[in-house]
Subunit: 171 residues, 2 copies
């Protein structure tokens, strides 16, 4: 059976709200600090990492670009904490997520494309594919939970999906 | 009296060690994850934010560039937590720091210039100038302590310093 197509939509705070935060200046009112030298866009991500003795961990992930069409076959979630991906580049990337559940539910999986500036902070328990870079190798700053406990669950999708191209499909 | 000149040195992990972490891939051995798609450079910043009911806070700071020569007159420190600045741009910026003490001690102030990719995580209690961008307005991801308590102390330098130009001066 041919896998179903996973459509992509533009990443917006509103559309992404069930899954986490879009880390961006847009839509936030800044405060002027440092004698007017700096605009502070405050509190852009709900970093949720203290569960079970957790502490913040900061990594850089360097990811190879994917080829299209791309088969979405595996998703993971972190039951003990949030995970933020901030692009250290200026190119769009793909974010594939599904709401918290025992398994990623068919029909609930969503695909987003960033605008090249946006980062994401994925809520605890939200299913997601590992970061999907486009075009060339890309670096991301990752802010997640470090510490004791089993914090990564991976599932093979019973019905894989396919991202055919970068055409937008907004339902 | 003409202010003394503050020399600049290239930012390296070794030179910056008394003040915090340089957030960069260089010098770290990555681990392969995500079925080989990703290199993970782990644990790049010691995020120290739990003191007195603190929690991690994520902001974007947009800072106007400085003009050179620039007078270093004011420094601040955060007695309750670390503060990380990750550039969301690819240009060098300046980092001016001094070791923890009651006041920034004359003669102990150091000026660094980043390589355009590096971020910094400034240790709790380390005196620092607010971020000094060069050339054009620049965005930084900031990871710091949020929560109760007085976490910013500012001091006027008795003997201001001057950054005359971007020439490197390595003692």
């Amino acid at each position: 059976m041919k896998p179903s197509r996973l459509g992509l939509r533009p990443l917006t705070q509103e559309a992404f709200a069930p899954f986490g935060d879009v880390v961006q200046k847009q839509g936030h009112r800044p405060e002027e600090i440092n004698y007017g030298q700096t605009l502070k866009y405050a509190g852009l991500a709900d970093i949720d990492i203290v569960e079970s003795g957790g502490e913040p961990a900061v990594h850089i992930y360097r990811s190879e670009p994917i080829d299209l069409p791309f088969r979405v076959e595996i998703m993971e979630c972190h039951p003990l904490g949030s995970q933020a991906f901030i692009p250290l580049h200026n190119r769009p990337f793909l974010v594939v997520v599904a709401p918290p559940a025992e398994e990623p539910m068919p029909g609930s999986i969503r695909g987003f494309i960033t605008n090249g500036k946006q980062g994401v902070n994925i809520n605890r328990g939200v299913w997601h594919h590992y970061q999907l870079s486009l075009g060339e190798p890309a670096d991301y700053l990752v802010i997640e939970r470090g510490g004791p406990g089993e914090n990564c669950v991976e599932r093979q999708l019973k019905d894989p999906l396919i991202i055919e191209n970068l055409e937008l499909e907004i339902p």
